[in-house]
Amino acid sequence: MTYESNKAIDANSITIDGETVPFDAGQTIMDAALAAKIHIPHLCHYPGLTPAGNCRLCMVEMNGESVAACVTQAQSGQQVSSNTPELNAARLAITQMLFVEGNHICPSCEKSGNCRLQAMGYYLGMLEEHFHQFNPRREIDASHSTVLLDRDRCILCDLCVRASRDIDKKNVFAIAGRGIHARLVVNTASGKLGDSNIEENDLAAKICPVGAILIRERSFDSPVGERIYDRRSISDTALTEHVPEKEVDRG
């Protein structure tokens, strides 16, 4: 079942921050919110891919319970709070933790201006990282001729894993390890991207929200002022994101 198939009008509705929002059977709170053009902050959710509930930015209060909007089914009568100072403070702390867990050097990162993590930081009013830097030592994988994997910037959102498995049907990536030891790995005997069958036009090569998976040698080809988040807020762009139909068809 694809996202697009859930178009039938259902009389059911929920409220999000006091606003009545209709939903279709099978939709999550996130689905209903996006359909109603309401932004619930998220990084690991991408319509068209199976929700994973990894990043926890979309945590909302639902009838007094904290739930992740992207993986919680909408049910009639739910009263959802999302845009509250408490929840946004928690989202800010999560975003700050994502920054300090990796090595996110925005000034020299070619994803800067097109990066959803950076845009989320701006959206949430993040002025500093607050927590101590982990300064992890992570391996960069430049073995592939057209795709670069820079684990320094990986936030373990799992989008590349799902895109490669469910859309590209190549199953190139996986998350290995648990907790603080979790890491993005490549499903080849060598563990090297160069030995995988990923191609630069694959969804998995393009969907990374940060600068962890990059097309090589395209550095800074988007001029300052013309990058995605130079012109629009992530609260705006996130409302229209969806895996392109041709990719879904391909899957």
Partner: protein
């Protein structure tokens, strides 16, 4: 503004004077003076006690990222670092020739960068010394004082800097730390709107550049007593174009001795390792480069505006060329060795930038859309050399088969002037300090000598932290006699 405080040690008889904050240099340094038992200067040193290590931490990064990584070395001349790295990246990507539009855009960007950097240095940082005097009231000896007493001069300087920054913004999207260069080209065309806006102001910039040049000519011709301030003979190194003319973006290396005789000429900068060496000394994080041919004792040289204007045979724009001829006449047709003539040469270059900007903006190709060249076979080593505002800048990168940087060597302009700045301090200390007590006015004399080079100590040492400028006076036994410290936010 400067505050000072003095502390004395009854036990050792030493006195420590602190002046806070540091002003009017880019970065942080320390000066030590060694005295013999008669309080005569034995040794004077400029220490750069900072460390940043860019060469180390760009190892392991993909090569195409480097221009934007290394431009963060500096907030004054990031464009210089971006362009030097971009030239190296062009080589790494196997690109021989940029498109005409990309070449002109990079040149325009570079002229804008030099214009704004030189304007900042002369008007904001150095003009107070000349307009008020080296030993004048430090409360007034700053850009705010210039604005109050000489508002026209100060405003012209501020607007000239703004104009240079607008050129940078037009091409890179931001006035500081924008993007722009790509392997083999540029990432966007210059809009007609920007071109028209820049052309609308260029006549003013030309006029103000001539005014600034005139002021500097007067400083030298009407104040001959300053001629021997930090004066000494040296070798000079710079790029020149294939005709021997002044060149900032791309050319061959020329070194001349103190008589103006070439030591080498039109040397391919990719062979710089054969002609330059770097010496490490224990007391400074800044290396001491020298010309291999002459050895480390005699092979040190000066770079920057004085070297470039001394070394070149001509300047390709008429007003600047006329100014160069007057400069040469002042030097008796040989090299001008006056350290303060750095300022004069700097303003000749400002005029050349203004003329060149006007010329480039009138060319049709400057708004062209053919921005990138086809890549060729990737190479293992890329070397980019340009003339940054402060002098010849070398970026040298080695990559592995996967395009990851394995080695980097940067010889930053100020590094090349390391020995010369030490010589200047020694000269000033001998003349003004010998046998005397340190005063704020003396401290500023030392600073004036260093300031002439427009040093960017953060660039040169890749510094981390904020170290103050200090002057320490040691007696023959190495005991601290006096120490003057200027603390503060620094200029970078």
């Amino acid at each position: 503004m400067t505050d000072s405080k003095s502390t004395e040690s009854a036990a050792t008889g030493t006195r420590r004077i602190a002046i806070d904050p540091i002003t009017r240099i880019e970065g942080h340094g320390k000066i030590t003076l060694m005295l013999d038992s008669d309080n005569h200067i034995q040794e004077a040193r400029l220490h750069i006690v900072e460390f940043r290590g860019f060469e180390k931490f760009i190892q392991g990064r993909p090569y195409w990222e480097v221009p934007f990584f290394v431009q963060r070395l500096c907030g004054i001349c990031p464009v210089s670092h971006q362009l030097a790295a971009a030239k190296a990246v062009d080589q790494l990507a196997g690109i021989e020739q940029l498109t005409p539009t990309a070449t002109k855009l990079r040149r325009l960007l570079h002229f804008g960068q030099i214009l704004q950097s030189h304007a900042l240095h002369f008007f904001h940082l150095s003009s107070p010394d000349f307009l008020f005097g080296f030993g004048s009231d430090p409360m007034r000896r700053n850009i705010a004082g210039v604005l109050e007493k000489y508002p026209d001069i100060a405003m012209q300087g501020i607007k000239m800097r703004k104009y240079g920054q607008q050129i940078i913004e037009a091409i890179t999207g931001k006035r500081i730390h924008g993007t722009g260069t790509l392997p083999g080209g540029m990432n966007r065309q210059l809009s007609q709107t920007w071109r028209d806006a820049l052309l609308a102001d260029i006549e003013d910039i030309l006029e103000w550049s001539e005014n600034a040049l005139r002021l500097n000519e007067q400083i030298h011709t009407e104040h001959p007593e300053q001629a021997d301030f930090a004066m000494f003979h040296s070798n000079y190194l710079s790029l020149v174009d294939n005709t021997g003319a002044l060149e900032f973006y791309h050319g061959g290396l020329r070194a001349c001795d103190s008589g103006g005789t070439p030591i080498f000429d039109h040397q391919d900068y990719c062979d710089y390792r054969q002609i330059l060496r770097e010496e490490v000394r224990a007391w400074s994080y800044m290396k001491f480069p020298y010309l291999q041919q002459l050895g480390n004792e005699r092979g040190w040289y000066r770079v920057g505006p004085l070297a470039r204007v001394n070394n070149c045979d001509a300047i390709t724009t008429p007003l600047a060329e006329a100014a160069r001829r007057r400069f040469k006449a002042f030097g008796g047709e040989g090299p001008v060795h006056n350290t303060l003539a750095y300022h004069w040469a700097r303003m000749i270059e400002v005029l050349h930038c203004a003329e060149s900007i006007q010329r480039l903006l009138h060319e049709n190709e400057i708004t062209g859309t053919d921005l990138t060249a086809e890549k060729g076979d990737r190479r293992q080593q890329g070397i980019g050399v340009i003339e940054a505002p402060r002098g010849t800048l070398f970026h040298d990168y080695t990559v592995n088969d996967e395009g990851i940087i394995t080695k980097a060597n940067l010889i930053v302009s100020t590094t090349s002037n390391n020995q010369a700045m030490n010589e200047s301090i020694r000269s000033v200390a001998n003349r003004y300090l010998d046998g005397r007590e340190i005063t704020e006015a003396l401290l500023n004399h030392l600073e004036v000598a260093v300031r002439a080079y427009d040093p960017c100590l953060s660039c040169a040492t890749h510094a981390l932290g904020k170290m103050p400028l200090q002057v320490e006076l040691l007696d023959a036994t190495g005991t601290l006699v006096h120490r003057l410290v200027k603390q503060g936010g620094g200029g970078n």
